[in-house]
Amino acid sequence: MNAETALTTDDVIIVKNLIKQVEVNNGMLEILKSISLNVKRGQSIAIVGASGSGKSTLLGLLAGLDCATTGEIWLDGAPLHQLDEEQRTELRRDKVGFIFQSFLLLPALTALENIMLPAQLAGMDDAEQHAIELLKEVGLDHRGDHYPNQLSGGEQQRVAIARAFICKPTILFADEPTGNLDGENGRRIERLLFELNQQHHTTLVLVTHDTRLAQNCQRVITMSDGTVTETTTDSSVTPRELNDVV
């Protein structure tokens, strides 16, 4: 299958022969070794693997945070591999949401301001109204004026999730979203993430060590030493038809 063909289908991410090399002391180190994959619109996908297997690097490349050495990435029809830094920034602003393990809220802004930020950057008129609605959805409507250091870890991650959804992203990337939370809080965030994902019809790509979280996704990709060694699909957790090529 080539990229042009993929664009006519429902694939929101298409990856072809992706290689990522980095310079080390004695030469080049290949972190990702010729990876190809497609992701359907609305699908949830978990990337799992041992530390150093290349999963976070792959996430960074898919999200347009980094550039591949060779290979192609098509994100919602846009050729990421051909875009420069500023064009990738615009693409992220318009189509991508992020959730991080350490929440990464701006400590100088309130919860509401943190949620509004991507919408304001994208020039949305009703950013504040949207942000207030999302605050309600994540159950923090009474905490809008609070600063990150006045919120618990779980609350901070809920703000981060609300921030990720404000621009109605096509794809949501999450890097260990429950990694910094205890069991109960982790499960609440997990539920919230999948609920919102369903509601907003977003494609979810998450990197995790948590097998339980991975099992909630429609598809799990296991990585080892820079290659995809295994993919599993579980039709029972997905309402959608799966059609992937690895």
Binding site: S56, T57, L59, G60, L65, D66, C67, E85, E86, T89, E90, R92, R93, D94, F98, F100, Q101, S102, L104, L105, L106, P107, A108, L109, E113, N114, M116, L117, P118, Q120, L121, A122, R163, D175, E176
Partner: protein, 845 residues
Amino acid sequence: MWFKPARALLVQQLKRGELTIFLLAIALAVTSVFSLSGFGERLNQALVLKSSNFLAADRLLSSAHPIDESLIAQANEFELKSARYLSFNSMIFGNDQMLLSYTKAITGPYPLRGEMKISQQALTTAPTDSQGQVVYGPPPPGTVWVVNEVLTRLRIAIGDKLEVGDALFTVGGIITQEPDASFSIFNSSPTIFINGDDVAATNIIRPGSRLFYNYLYSGSDDNLSDYYQAIKPQLSTNQNWQDIKSERSPLANSLNRANQFLLLASLLGIILAATAISVTAQRYTQAQFDTVALLKTLGTPDGTIRKMFIFQLSSLTIVGVLIGLGVGFVLQEGAFALVKIYLPQSLPEQMPSLGFKPFAIAISTGVICAAMFSLTPMLRLFKVPVMRVIKRDMSPQSFKLWLNGLVFGGAIFLLLLIYSQDLRLSLITLCVAALIAALLSLLALALIKLSRGKKFSAASPWKLAIASLYQRAQAASMQIASIATAIMLMLIILLLRNELIDEWQAQIPSGTANHFIGNVTPDQVEPIKKLMAHYDVESSDLYPIIRGRMSQINGEVIGGYDSEGNTEQDNKRSGRRGFGRELSLTWRDTLPDQNPLEEGEWWAVDESEHQVSIEHDAAKRLDIKIGDMLTIMIGAEQVTAKVTSLRNVHWRSMRPNFILIFNRATLGDMPSTYISSFYISSEQQSMLNELLAQFPTISLIKIDRLIKKLKEIIEQVSLALSYIMVLVICASILVLLVQIQASYQQRHQDLVILRTLGAGKKLLKRAIAIEFLISGALAGFIAALTTELALWLLQTFVIEMQWQPHPMLWLGATVIGSVFVALIGTRACKDLTQLPPNELIRNLS
């Protein structure tokens, strides 16, 4: 057991560059202090050495009685060169004429500093410094050297005979340059030099003779000081040990001010360097929190951890001090080389060497700063909880603000005191610094209010900039404090420098009188005025001079105290204080220029009542008020006048100045001579020849050599200050970079989040620029406020200059602050805005 891991840790951290900025701060502090004190001290010594030419020696011991020869002989033990002269006024006779002269009977290699020139041939023009040959030592026995005025007034020539007391001398030469010639027109008897061995033959030394024994010394400062300490116990109170700076002259005044100013600028530089160390010390210890927590987890005893970090701190201090001394040495040598290139004529032939003091001060600065400023952060470091290995946000409790302030203030005060050895100056400087700290606390509060009160879009650069400042309110206020300190120091140095130089220039503006004439008889007044008008020479008025002594105030006889309140013989004296000496009095119809009236009124020209105007400070000192009656003895005659006004006198101006000025009705009929001052350019020299040819009996005193020296001092101090400014700017940039580095990690994280969320480079660059512009503008504004206050304190209480407000300073400082900080800040954060967002995944996840 602790040494090897401590060394390994130090080496690793040095390699990774984590300690570079702390090391750099110590090195910079030591560099600044060493080069400032080394350069300042040597420049000051050079100025004093060169200026000592005006004393003909480094030190002068003078006495009305001979000093025990054993004391004088001790100078040899201290490797000092010495000479002496006996001075007295005596009548001299030649060609059946007589003249009151000032005689110097010289013994030894006079002058020890400067040059004396003697012309063996008759002068065809007015005497100039270029005439004659340089001579050291006294004239041969039986020979007298005289100033040209003696020859013209006695109508004699070289080779003729001259009688001094009972001895007969042959005129052997004309004095064309005398290093320690008096610049006072009031003591204008013409000078003659005779050999000290001829004094006995003159029979001048008799009971009651008014003689002055002058002993001259030259040598190193330390040896001179040691010698003085050795002989001091045997000296009586009227035997004066003086150097050029203790003289009451415009030169001494300028030297003392230059010295004070260099000292003050250096002190301010020290505070700045200390601020840099303080900030980096905090950052250095904070960076060690994880290491200490880990060491504790691994079971390392507290004592071992303490040893490891004290070793690390000591090693850094030693290396920093050594680097600082090395760089400082090169800098001060470089600065001196510049002075040599640009002002070669103003330096003595033998340059003063670098003393021990700059080394001691620089090393103690490095050690005190590193030790004291690391004290509370280090104590905090040792209290890092072990749990930090699990919960990284766990930090040891901070020390109370007042304790930190006490340690910081104490360290700064100690440094200031060591450097200046002046308690008052150190206290004033410290108070100003404390005031800045207080102002900044208020500013931090204002920042919080500002950031919460304003409604900006979260994505506007203004909101991001203000939010960033608010987020780091404490660090930002420190940053603003240090930038404000830096700007304040630059402004103080610049403004003081300009005002000091302006005042000096005002003292010797172009066209300042460079000649005095005296001994002008009343019938010569009009012809001299005409001659000057003919040559277009601008002169002060001709003032009549009458010598007199104040004997009574309001009919009460004066007890004989001197004007400085010498109360040593209180119990032997009674009555009111007077001047304790004869005064030069004058009378005038009009108020002299530059003598503004402080109180009372000037008299009318036809006023018949006896009236007098007194200088304001003298009146205050002697408790004389308007309406008091002053009685003056002039020869055998006694006159009484009523005080009708108090005047301010600008004593440093090069023109005739008087404590007492009477009206015509009081002294107009008294016999007097006249004096005047005037400026002539080199093209108008022929006027001098004509003046002396037409009026051979007048006295001429040239002060252009003194004015030239004053100008040289101004030039040298300007150069020194430019050098200090460069150092202060370097220290300011370092402080700013240290502060930016301290906030780098947080700033980095924020920017990466913003980039990831789709914020463009333009927005981030603007936000950073606005943040630094705000910081800089606030710092500049505070700097202007504190500068104004500091200048008022310094000018009023330390260097005694007239303070005036500087309205342009406020605008200037704010603009300079914002531009300076924005330029350095955006440059330092440039790489942050260039960061690709994948840094987020790589570094922060």
